[in-house]
C-alpha cells in the first residue's frame, strides 16, 4: 500500500500519533510529525511511497513543535533523529525542509555498510551514471532534467554503492531545487511536480520535486555503474564532455565519498573497481537540451 492509497485524514492521524513508516530505497523511515502544518504537502509529495507495516525502521525521525527564546512568538520546529536534535530549530514554515535535510543527514552519518558518494545517480538501459559533485554544482537540477526525460532516478544526493555486489542501490527521494534553478525547471519542465516554495532557508528558497512514480516503484532494482560524470553547470558555456584520466577520477571520487576512509580496504577496492569498469568524464554544461543529447549519446 502506498501513502496515496490512504486518505489525507488517516495520513494526518498516523503522522501525528504513532507516525508513518515508509520505504525509501533500501531503508524504512518512521516519520512522526507533531507540527502538521505541512502534512498536506507531505501527503502529496510522498503519495507514491510504499507504506511499511511490519518491517523494522532503520531511522526514526520526528519533527516537533519548538520554542525559540529569541523569537518566542513565532512557531518553530525541531528535527529529531532517535530523540537527538542534530541541527538548530527552524521556523515552522520550513518544516518540510527540516524533515528532508534531517533524513539526508541521518543517512550520511548512520550508514556505513554501504559506500556513500555525494552524487546524483540515474539509470538508463540498465546501467548507471554516477554524477559526483560538490554542493552548488547543479546535481539536483541535472537530475530533475534527466529523470523527466526517461532516466530512472536513483538519487539526486546519494550514490549508495553496495561494495559486496558492486551495484548502486536506488534511494529516490524528493529533490530540493534551490533559488534560480526553481524557475529554470518550471520553464523547462512544466510537467514536473513541485511542492510549495519555501523561502528564507539557509540555502535560500527551496522547492521539492517529486521523483517520477516509476523510479519509486522500481526502487528495489539495483544496477551496476557504467559511467562516472563529474558535472558542473556554468552559465552560457557550450557543453564539454571530456574524458578524465583514471588516476584523477579515482582521486575525485574517493574525495567525494562521505565514508571512504571509514569503509577501509573495501572502500579502496570498491572505488578501484568502479574506476576500472566505468568511463570517466568531466562535464560542463549550461543548456538542458545539449545535456540530454550528450547523455543520450553516451548511454545509447
Amino acid at each position: 500500500m502506498t501513502v496515496g492509497q490512504i486518505t489525507l485524514e488517516r495520513f494526518i492521524v498516523l503522522l501525528s500519533n504513532q507516525g508513518i513508516r515508509v520505504r525509501v530505497g533500501p531503508f524504512n523511515v518512521q516519520i512522526n510529525v507533531t507540527s502538521t502544518v505541512f502534512a498536506n504537502q507531505l501527503y502529496l509529495l510522498y503519495k507514491d511511497y510504499e507504506l511499511v507495516e511490519n518491517d523494522i525502521a532503520e531511522f526514526h525521525v520526528r519533527v516537533v513543535s519548538a520554542r525559540s527564546i529569541k523569537r518566542p512568538f513565532t512557531s518553530h520546529v525541531r528535527f529529531l533523529l532517535d530523540g537527538q536534535s542534530p541541527f538548530p530549530i527552524l521556523p515552522e514554515e520550513q518544516a518540510l525542509a527540516a524533515l528532508e535535510w534531517g533524513i539526508n543527514l541521518s543517512i550520511a552519518v548512520r550508514v556505513n555498510h554501504l559506500l556513500l558518494f555525494h552524487s546524483a545517480v540515474v539509470e538508463r538501459n540498465g546501467q548507471v551514471i554516477v554524477a559526483p559533485a560538490l554542493p552548488g554544482s547543479g546535481k539536483t537540477t541535472l537530475c530533475v532534467a534527466l529523470v523527466h526525460r526517461g532516466y530512472r532516478l536513483f538519487s539526486d544526493e546519494f550514490g549508495l554503492l553496495d561494495p559486496q555486489r558492486g551495484e548502486f542501490l536506488p534511494i529516490p527521494r524528493l529533490m530540493p531545487l534551490k533559488n534560480e534553478s526553481i524557475g529554470v525547471i518550471e520553464n523547462y519542465l512544466p510537467e514536473a511536480q513541485l511542492g510549495q516554495k519555501i523561502p528564507n532557508t539557509q540555502k535560500g528558497t527551496i522547492a521539492h520535486v517529486c521523483p517520477p512514480k516509476e523510479s519509486i516503484v522500481r526502487s528495489r532494482e539495483s544496477a551496476k555503474a557504467r559511467w562516472i560524470v563529474f558535472p558542473k553547470w556554468v552559465a552560457d558555456t557550450p557543453l564539454r564532455l571530456e574524458q578524465l584520466p583514471d588516476s584523477e577520477a579515482f582521486l575525485l571520487l574517493a574525495n567525494n565519498s562521505f565514508n571512504y576512509e571509514v569503509m577501509g580496504e573495501s572502500g579502496f577496492q570498491a572505488v578501484t573497481h568502479l574506476i576500472k569498469t566505468c568511463d570517466c568524464y568531466q562535464l560542463v554544461y549550461s543548456d538542458f537540451d545539449d545535456l540530454i543529447n550528450a547523455m543520450n549519446d553516451l548511454t545509447n
Partner: protein, 100 residues
Amino acid sequence: MSSKVYWRPIGFSCLRIEEWNEEFTLYQPDSGKTHFLNQMGMQIILDLAQSPASTDDICQSLAAQFELCLNQQFSQQIISILNRFNELGLIEKVEKESSM
C-alpha cells in the same frame, strides 16, 4: 665498525597497489589512508621492498633508472620524498653496522 642508516618499507606485503597509467594509488591498511604516488615515488617503495638501502644508494639507483642527473637538487628532492614517506609510515629508518 660504523653504523649506516638504511631505509626499509613498513608492511609492504599488506599494501594494496593499483596502477593508473604510470600513476599509483596505494592503500595502507595500518592507517586506512590512500596515497597517490607518481612513478618515482612508487619505484622508491618497490626498490626498498627488494632490499633496504641508504639515501645515497637510493638516489644513485633512481638517477640511473630515470636517466636523470645526480646532483644536489635531485638528492634534496629524494630526501624530501623519503622523509614524507617516513612521516606517512610507509618506510622507516634502520641503522646497520658495517665494517669500514
